[in-house]
């Protein structure tokens, strides 16, 4: 695949091509007991092929809703979503998803879990197992290939979930707070793993998190969302060098980026506070 995008001239070239994801004027309204809730309000953004975009924002601002909609899991919606140039109505095999919970099939071994996608796309058992074994080696769980999910730790389960999503070689990988349920140490390791993995798979990644540090460490670009209704407040380009690891968090360039993000969030928080005060 020639979708590799780094912060070199290649990414400039990539950006000129058709975006991998185009979201325009996306609005989503839920019917709840207390009337209609506008979860997402006219959100628009593009993601270039191979780009790594993080969506960050407070709990309940609609991050998951946006991601599920791109995945084809949340219908109906208002606005337009194009993935690889084609509109999204339902889940597509070229779009992979990793959820906050691993959601591994408990009755399948690690290998069978990862082989599930290829099997569903019509690959033979041997082919599917070969794909699975490659991915198992990549996530470093060869010893656990025949283990059942309940015997794995949370971090290992989430690695399997990532490998399972990659087994169909998706052009777009959506990740919804995949490390949110992990402890801080495991989380840092998983972030480094993902960064290393990302250089090899070359998929376009949209990664949702409420952790601004995680967003900056991982992303080429951070979209900061605000709650009630969900909107995009600001886009922050992260021009930190790659290959990157979580140790980038002590560099001055990182800190100044983080300050920018926090300023935006604080201003929004204050505005929301004053508004609720006035009401």
């Amino acid at each position: 695949m020639k979708l590799a995008a780094t912060n070199s001239p290649a990414s400039v070239e990539a950006a000129r091509k058709q975006p991998a994801i185009q979201v325009s004027n996306l609005s989503i309204v839920f019917d709840s007991k207390r009337g209609q809730v506008i979860a997402v309000d006219r959100v628009s953004f593009d993601v270039a092929p191979g780009e790594f975009v993080c969506i960050a924002g407070p709990s309940g601002c609609g991050k998951s809703t946006v991601l599920n909609t791109i995945a084809g899991l949340e219908v109906p919606f208002e606005g337009d979503i194009l993935v690889e140039g084609a509109p999204v109505y339902s889940p597509r095999p070229d779009v992979g998803m990793v959820f906050q919970q691993p959601h591994l099939f408990p009755w399948k071994s690690v290998r069978r879990n990862i082989a599930h996608g290829p099997r569903m796309l019509g690959k033979s058992r041997t082919e599917a197992n070969a794909i699975a074994d490659d991915l198992i080696a990549m996530i470093g769980l060869t010893r656990f290939a025949d283990a059942y999910p309940s015997t794995l730790s949370g971090g290992m389960q989430q690695r399997v979930a990532i490998a399972r999503a990659l087994a169909n070689q998706p052009r777009v990988l959506l990740m919804d707070e995949p490390f949110g349920a992990l402890d801080a140490q495991t989380r840092a390791v998983m972030q480094d793993n993902l960064l290393a993995l990302r250089d090899r798979i070359k998929a376009t990644i949209v990664f949702v998190t409420h952790d601004i540090d995680e967003a900056i460490v991982l992303a080429d670009r951070v979209l900061i969302m605000s709650a009630g209704p969900g909107r995009i407040l600001r886009e922050v380009a992260v021009k930190l060098p790659r290959p990157r690891s979580s140790s980038v968090m002590v560099e001055p360039a990182y800190l100044s980026l983080k300050k920018d993000c926090l300023d935006v969030i604080r201003a929004e928080g204050l505005r929301a506070f004053n508004q609720s005060d006035a009401n």
């Binding site: 889940p91 095999p93 992979g96 959820f99 591994l104 099939f105 408990p106 009755w107 569903m120 979930a161």
Partner: protein, 276 residues
């Protein structure tokens, strides 16, 4: 320094001897439990024998174990026992399999398809709490003393238990698993076999296990309603002839059957839900 060392050594020895003292104690207690457990039945049977023969109770109504054993041997020697056993086993297993299969089938249908659930669930929820034994009179009206009537009762008892647990199991399948499966390209029409059935399997197995004992309850009702062979039928005949020994032998046989069936199913259940 030296004093501190001595103190800590003393503490260490104290802990060590304490541990050493506690462990044999545990072993001894466990051995005692095994011994008492092994003595439980002989003790009970011996006491029963003594009480029966003491003259304080009517030996005809409360025969000692030796008399019960003789009655059972007689039962076996007459050749009736195996006929009775087979008749009862046939009713229980056929009823269990038919009722279980129907229960699983309808549980999947009502659990998976809201329209079918709206149609059938209210009816099932009204019929389910009626004890199967209450159907004996109408079953006699409908089926007479035929085998079909007996199967009907067992099937009836098993069906609702298995239906309800299957229905709940299907409903409780983790939505996250279904979303994950969708994202991996699982077609919706394959969702049942790929995810829903396996997700519901632990519930189905629990329902089936409960149904094992229910099938024995309903067997009793079915055979008391009138039969020509069967363990419970024989108990009833023996009762009419005041052969209390055989009555008790029949009860023991029924208990043993039910116990073995439950154990067999427990072993099977472990294999059915293989990922646990």
């Amino acid at each position: 320094m030296a004093m501190q060392d001595a103190a800590s050594t003393r503490r260490a020895t104290a802990i060590r001897t304490d541990g050493r003292a506690r462990r044999p104690d545990l072993v001894r207690r466990r051995r005692l439990n095994v011994l008492v457990g092994a003595l439980s039945l002989p003790l009970f049977v011996g006491l029963w024998e003594l009480v029966s023969r003491s003259g304080t109770v009517n030996m005809v109504l409360f025969p000692p174990p030796t008399v019960v054993a003789t009655a059972v041997l007689e039962w076996i020697r007459s050749g009736q026992f195996f006929g009775d056993l087979l008749a009862s086993l046939f009713r229980v297993t056929t009823g269990f399999i038919v009722g279980g299969a129907l229960g699983i089938l309808f549980g999947i249908l009502t659990g998976q398809f809201p329209v079918i659930s709206s149609l059938l669930s209210p009816l099932f929820h009204i019929l389910r709490p009626i004890p199967p034994i209450a159907f004996v009179p109408i079953v006699i009206l409908w089926f007479g003393l035929s085998e079909a009537g007996k199967l009907f009762l067992v099937v009836w008892g098993v069906f609702f238990t298995v239906w309800l647990s299957t229905h709940i199991g299907v409903q409780k399948v983790d939505r996250g698993l279904i979303r994950a499966a969708l994202m991996l390209g699982t077609p919706r029409r394959q969702m049942l076999q790929e995810i829903v059935l396996l997700g519901a399997l632990p519930y189905i197995v629990v329902g089936l296990r409960t149904a094992v004992s229910i099938s024995f309850y309903t067997l009793v009702a079915a055979e008391l309603a009138g039969a020509f062979a069967g363990i419970v039928y024989r108990i009833e005949i023996a009762q009419q002839n005041l052969q209390t020994g055989q009555v008790m032998g029949g009860l023991a046989a029924l208990g043993l059957m039910s116990f073995i069936a439950d154990r067999l199913f427990a072993a099977l259940a472990e294999r059915l839900v293989w990922w646990r």
